[in-house]
């Protein structure tokens, strides 16, 4: 079954100058999809539009078959779409526990404490000091908290915008290890990532966006070390590159 369906999506900040141009992607349940592309290709705008944070001007978005095109971000979160922004993805003035408590509001009351405890156990760095302000966490720990927050309500689909941005290589490894665990639990993952190798090693499938349009769609393993990817990043089209 299709977990997330994007059909002919047009999105951006100005209807006359769309950034995302008629992009169509079907993501089956449990798949890990990497969205790759050069800077300015519209990757972040695409997933932010899917998550209800950027206006859409055409096309449709379906979550488990349900039309959610243009729905506001909070409604999409309640409908089961988890989204982790690239930066400023935790409330720095709130404690770790408070960040999780806000996310837990999406769950039935009896389940909340148990899920928060489960997340704190899953991420020991967070569980060791749950009352600390999120602003005191390192970059990697913030990404962990952001992932824990998104996972707390057990969303069927989780979208991440450059989860390794700004992190040291060691922390990048930790973040991808965490994402692998999440994927093994059957969560459908969609991630935009500049660290192409790490993304392709994690993903089942990758799409390449160039200038707001879908330029290539292939199994991730086919793209590892493939010079086609480099040519696409330099602005070529798939047929030219091949």
């Amino acid at each position: 079954m299709t977990a997330l369906s994007i059909r002919g999506l047009v999105a951006g900040y100005d209807p006359d100058l769309p950034i995302v141009k008629e992009v169509s992607i079907e993501v089956p349940e449990g798949q890990v999809l990497a969205i790759l592309g050069p800077n300015g290709a519209g990757k972040s705008t695409l997933i932010r539009a899917v998550a209800g944070m950027v206006p859409t001007f055409g096309g449709e978005v379906r979550l488990a078959g349900r039309d959610v095109t243009g729905a506001p971000a909070h409604a999409l979160a309640r409908a089961g779409l988890g989204f982790v922004p690239q930066t400023e993805n935790v409330f720095t003035r709130l404690s770790i526990r408070e960040n999780l408590q806000i996310a837990a509001e999406l769950l039935p009351r009896p389940a909340r404490a148990e899920r928060i405890a489960a997340m704190l156990a899953m991420f020991p760095d967070l569980g060791s000091r749950p009352e600390a302000a999120a602003g005191s966490l390192s970059g990697g720990q913030r990404q962990m908290l952001a992932a824990a927050r998104a996972l707390l309500s057990a969303p069927p689909v989780l979208i991440l915008d450059e989860p390794s941005a700004g992190l040291s290589p060691k922390l990048v490894g930790q973040v991808f290890q965490t994402l692998r665990r999440i994927a093994e639990d059957g969560v459908t993952l969609v991630l935009v990532e500049q660290n192409v190798r790490a993304a392709l090693e994690l993903a089942d499938r990758a799409v390449v966006l160039v200038d707001g349009r879908l330029a290539h769609d292939a199994p991730a393993r086919d793209l590892i070390g493939n010079p086609l990817l480099g040519r696409l990043f330099l602005g070529g089209r798939a047929e030219q590159a091949a």
């Binding site: 944070m53 993805n89 935790v90 806000i102």
Partner: protein, 305 residues
Amino acid sequence: MTLQILVNGLVAGTTIGLGAIGLSLTYSILRFANFTQGDLIAWGAYLTLAVAGAIGGLLAGLGPAGPLAPFSFGWTLPVALLGGMALTVLLALGLDAVLFARLRARGADAIILVMAGFGASMALRAGLEFIFTSAPAYFTRELQIARPLGAGMRATPDQLLVLGLTAALVVALHLLVTRTATGRAMRAVGESPALAAVYGLDVAGVVRITWVIGASLACVAGTMSGLLVQIRPTMGFDLLLPLFAATILGGIGSIPGAMIGGLVIGLSESLAVQVLGAEWRAAAAFVVLVVVLLVRPSGLFGRGA
């Protein structure tokens, strides 16, 4: 100079502090300086007065309702205050729906919202004068004798009630913001409305709650001020500078800070009246505001810039 300045300052500071809490909340969550907060205080007082009058009219056949000893007012005032709060909340929500929400939806800059608020403030004030005239009005004409508190200080029962009610409200609000899901949501939206939406919070709902709290406090502040002094259409406008001074002194978004800021401004005004003369009252708030902006722009309890 006597310690009576302390009592006078604290009593004046309660109105400023409660109004400043509302201003601070709207500033931290809606991210603009809401010039209508002062006029919501005035409207709150008049709406409470109108509800009290309506209750009095309905119960006229039962004979006059005497004051609740030792206070100067009868039981109708607390009941009318609840009605006044509800009506002030409706006024604030209506103002937001008609004006501010539309501007926010269009992505208006903070300065546009401030200017819109300034215009709305004038309209609200003119509306009060049109409906109630500019003649002062009173909740009660009972004469209260101030009672000795010790150390040369005196206060009327009404003044002590106002101080007690204010303290209770501040504690309740502080607990609401720091210990409840509603408070967490308000702090989250105050930090980042976009991220709050990603977390699944209904930002528009949190904005409504902020208006409800701000308008309720404005009504209580206006009613308290009206009870202790008098009600005038310009009473809120006259409070604007002290409200902003208290909000900035306490630190934007801090409830205890806004209250303490209000009390400091009230004490400063009281001291200025005693030492320099009544004409210097307004200057006290201005001086405090300038000093805070120069020395600690983030305020006493504010987060650093």
